[in-house]
């Protein structure tokens, strides 16, 4: 049977091939953490991780991910034995920095930020790290530019990400 792994649990693929990953999460798994903003790849609210890389869940059909592993915001917090969820350092930093206002885009921002930490560790270039006068804030903004936030919590989001980078030197 064709399956897809979401937050470490295996699920059968939906019967209707028109089902996007985002609709699969919402309508089949009742996981509403990833948000539907634009539904066209233009806002980043639906960002999830696919084998550790960030993608837009609204522009991929579930069948395209057969056998792959997806992590949503619900799976970012590591489950401990007593089934208490332990927050990811970036989630804690978001709380400490008040890096959200209405909160709608926050799950996408956090998923994106978690992947960004991995990309920095892997030394992936960005349009800004090509720059002669590299500045970390500017680079974080560029790397996070796939996530739009209508209430403009950007400065706090960038601060929260910087806090975590400082915690775990890349």
């Amino acid at each position: 049977m064709s399956t897809l792994i979401v937050n470490e649990e295996t699920y059968p693929l939906p019967e209707d091939p028109r089902t996007t990953l985002l609709d699969f999460l919402h309508q089949h798994l009742s996981m509403f953490g990833a948000k539907k903003g634009c539904d066209h790849g233009q806002c980043g609210a639906c960002t999830v991780l696919l084998d550790g890389e960030r993608i837009n869940a609204c522009l991929v059909f579930a069948f395209q991910l057969e056998g792959k592993s997806v992590t949503t915001i619900e799976g970012i917090a590591k489950k401990t034995n007593d089934s208490d969820a332990k927050l990811h350092p970036l989630q804690k930093a978001f709380v400490e920095r008040d890096a959200f206002q209405c909160g709608y885009c926050t799950s996408g921002q956090i998923c994106s930020g978690v992947a960004l930490l991995g990309e920095l560790a892997a030394k992936n270039p960005s349009a800004v790290t090509c720059s002669a006068d590299y500045s970390q804030k500017e680079d974080i903004s560029e790397r996070m530019s796939g996530n739009l936030c209508r209430c403009g919590a950007y400065p706090n989001i960038v601060d929260a990400i910087e806090d975590v980078i400082a915690l775990e030197p890349q």
């Binding site: 980043g44 960002t47 837009n56 395209q64 057969e66 960005s126 090509c130 002669a132």
Partner: protein
């Protein structure tokens, strides 16, 4: 979204055994096709899923060329090209496109075949010859700020949106195509796209029974390279004008010029006239003007895009000056010039 049936390929030879319907489409990353399917701009009755296509997910190289499999993602290619001085222009172009999320899914084959971002092509309530041949072109007399000035026709003025293709055009890339019968043909990217003329729905020379298998880029010296993209916001937007260029200078003579333009043409634009004027010429302000004049001789503006010839001229000249200064100070430099 209309219902569709599904087929899968794992290996290139599997396309041979496919029983595809007339309205079948390949789906690679899906970042463009799914978008268009949601809007009913594309209504394929069948999709051929390339996600499991193992043969073409990697980049290989030999002494003469780089070969990029059709399913290599934009992220993987940007990371690779970043470490190759002779391909640094390609890395810059890719990193300037879309967002990390999209680049992680977007593929080399899909990026070359992405459709235009013309607003009226996207809006099924508007006339569009590309979407529905013979229905007219709403863009000609409406908002055409993002539209083309080169290679246009009375039937369509849409730009090709890819940044990657602009860089590959400058780097003299070839597209490798495989047919259902296993026939392979390599087409220079410069001959791959069609101008709209009276048939804007025909965008390239790919035949119905062919799939893009790879892009081949010859190993050549391109000197100091630069991809400069001018757009309405500093990230996450398509180019209004872009210039991809590489310059090899000898004393003050332009020994080799690698050049292409984005955002101004109905296809990624190869400026043959400008290159002809400049190659072998002594670098000067005057010769730059002569070159861009020659290229713009056939340019047409449509109202809201009247600013594009000037923007192209200024962007081109500014890029050329930056490359010239860098080559003068750093003799045999090979690699990217990064924006400050």
């Amino acid at each position: 979204m209309n219902p569709f049936s599904l087929q899968h390929i794992k290996h290139t030879q599997d396309i041979n055994g496919l029983s595809t319907e007339d309205g079948a489409k390949y789906i690679a990353g899906g970042t463009n096709l799914i978008d268009l399917m949601k809007l009913q701009v594309e209504t394929p009755s069948q999709l051929v899923n390339l996600s499991q296509w193992e043969d073409e997910q990697s980049i290989t190289e030999n002494d003469d060329y780089f070969r990029i499999g059709a399913m290599v993602t934009n992220t993987a290619l940007a990371n690779y090209a970043y470490h190759q001085p002779s391909l640094s222009l390609l890395s810059q172009a890719l990193l300037s496109g879309a967002t990390v999320q999209l680049r992680n899914r977007a593929t080399t084959g899909g990026n070359l075949l992405q459709r235009t971002r013309c607003y009226y092509f996207y809006d099924t309530t508007k006339a569009c010859n590309k979407r529905q041949p013979g229905s007219g072109c709403a863009a000609l007399t409406s908002m055409n700020r993002i539209h083309a000035i080169l290679g246009t026709s009375d039937d369509c003025i849409a730009t090709h949106p890819s940044d990657m293709a602009v860089a590959m055009m400058a780097l003299d890339a070839q597209v490798s195509l495989t047919s259902k019968t296993g026939e392979v043909r390599n087409i220079p990217l410069r001959d791959f796209y069609c101008v709209p003329s009276t048939t804007p729905h025909i965008e390239n020379v790919l035949k119905d029974d062919e799939v893009i298998t790879a892009v081949i880029i010859p190993k050549q010296r391109h000197g100091t390279q630069y991809y400069r993209k001018v757009r309405d916001r500093s990230s996450y937007a398509f180019a209004l004008v872009s210039v991809g260029a590489g310059l090899v200078l000898k004393n003050d003579t332009i020994e080799k010029l690698t050049l292409s333009f984005g955002g101004v043409g109905t296809k990624p634009w190869y400026p043959a006239s400008a290159i002809r004027v400049l190659t072998g010429a002594t670098f000067s302000e005057e010769v730059l003007d002569l070159a861009i004049d020659a290229e713009l001789a056939d340019a047409k503006v449509y109202g809201s895009n009247n600013f594009k010839p000037d923007l192209l001229r200024n962007t081109f000249k500014s890029v050329m000056h930056s490359l010239y200064e860098h080559q003068r100070e750093n003799g045999d430099h090979e690699g990217a010039l990064y924006e400050n």
